[in-house]
């Protein structure tokens, strides 16, 4: 029986989603290439968020990230015939995404009012962590506080780009070391080194701030002074 509470578009999209889920990626791609372009919507659904995040991490502007995401998915669609299945589809899409993002950064660099942030920053820096003698764990419920979410968000965006992207792929998107290396075009060893440095930088930057959000601290994490 047809669910009349749903629009034709919703039903079509739901059907397309179920249809694509029932097939493997290779079959879905073959059918899209044979003309069933509607299946592309479901194919890209799992990577919509990682693509936006990668572009936001690179461009640090929501509007640019969204525009670049649309351009990325159009390129993915137009180049679908070149996907050989040597890597996961998501890894391939993220490589295209990264190139698109770097292209946007280069365009920005040609405009003098927007200097290009160095894409490569291999400075060794100081990786001594923030030293403390006790740590009260912040539970996930603490993230209900917008101030805490903003604090974490700022810390990630402050990282030099090569560290930001490895944190995104490994810790946010949960890609494994080899997949991350494939997307970034670096060795698995470099992924581990960059991730270590990035996590140390985040620890050093965040820990002094996060102590204020810990349960039982003077400010408490319900936002009231206690």
């Amino acid at each position: 029986m047809t669910d009349t509470s749903k629009s034709t578009g919703e039903i079509a999209s739901g059907l397309a989603e179920r249809e694509a889920a029932a097939l493997d990626t290779a079959q879905t791609i073959a059918r899209i290439l044979a003309g069933e372009s509607h299946l592309f919507h479901a194919l890209i659904q799992p990577v919509e968020r990682p693509v936006f995040l990668m572009l936001y991490m690179l461009l640090r502007d929501e509007t640019d990230a969204e525009d670049a995401a649309q351009e990325t998915f159009i390129k993915v669609y137009r180049n679908l015939h070149t996907f050989r299945g040597d890597s996961k589809f998501s890894t391939w899409v993220l490589s295209i995404t990264r190139n698109e993002g770097l292209g946007w950064l280069r365009k920005r660099a040609s405009r003098p009012e927007e200097p290009l942030e160095p894409v490569l920053d291999e400075s060794s820096g100081d990786f001594t962590p923030a030293l403390l003698t006790d740590w009260r764990e912040l539970p996930p419920e603490a993230l209900e506080r917008q101030e805490l979410r903003q604090c974490l968000c700022r810390a990630i965006l402050k990282l030099p780009p090569i560290y930001r992207e490895v944190v995104q792929l490994r810790d946010l998107d949960e890609l494994d070391v080899q997949e991350t290396a494939n997307v970034l075009g670096i060795t698995p060893g470099s992924v581990k080194v960059r991730l270590h440095r990035a996590r140390m930088m985040l620890q050093k930057d965040l820990v002094p701030q996060l102590k204020a959000f810990a349960p039982g601290s003077k400010r408490g994490w319900f936002g009231r002074r206690v």
């Binding site: 990786f127 403390l132 740590w135 912040l138 996930p140 993230l143």
Partner: protein
């Protein structure tokens, strides 16, 4: 072999990912048992890694997916009409 604090710090990320061999893991564990500072550094780093992975940290703009699929539909339509 006894390891010092700096040695522990070099392996924090790999330790969290379970990417250290059994011998090194045992040495780090022994160090953590008596070093309050390294224990706090390890716990706080692990906590930071867990918190930043939460989907609530970065919100996707409202309507992002709908706008994306509308744009793609327009591309599909244009390309199918142009043959």
């Amino acid at each position: 072999m006894k390891i010092d604090c700096k040695h522990v710090w070099q392996h924090i990320s790999a330790y969290i990912d379970g990417d250290v061999d059994a011998q090194l893991r045992a040495e780090i564990d022994r160090h953590l048992e008596h070093c309050e500072i390294c224990s706090a550094v390890m716990d706080s780093t692990r906590n930071v890694v867990v918190l930043i992975a939460d989907d609530r940290i970065f919100e996707i703009p409202s309507g992002y997916s709908e706008r994306l699929h509308r744009r793609l539909e327009a591309v599909f339509a244009k390309e199918s009409s142009s043959g």
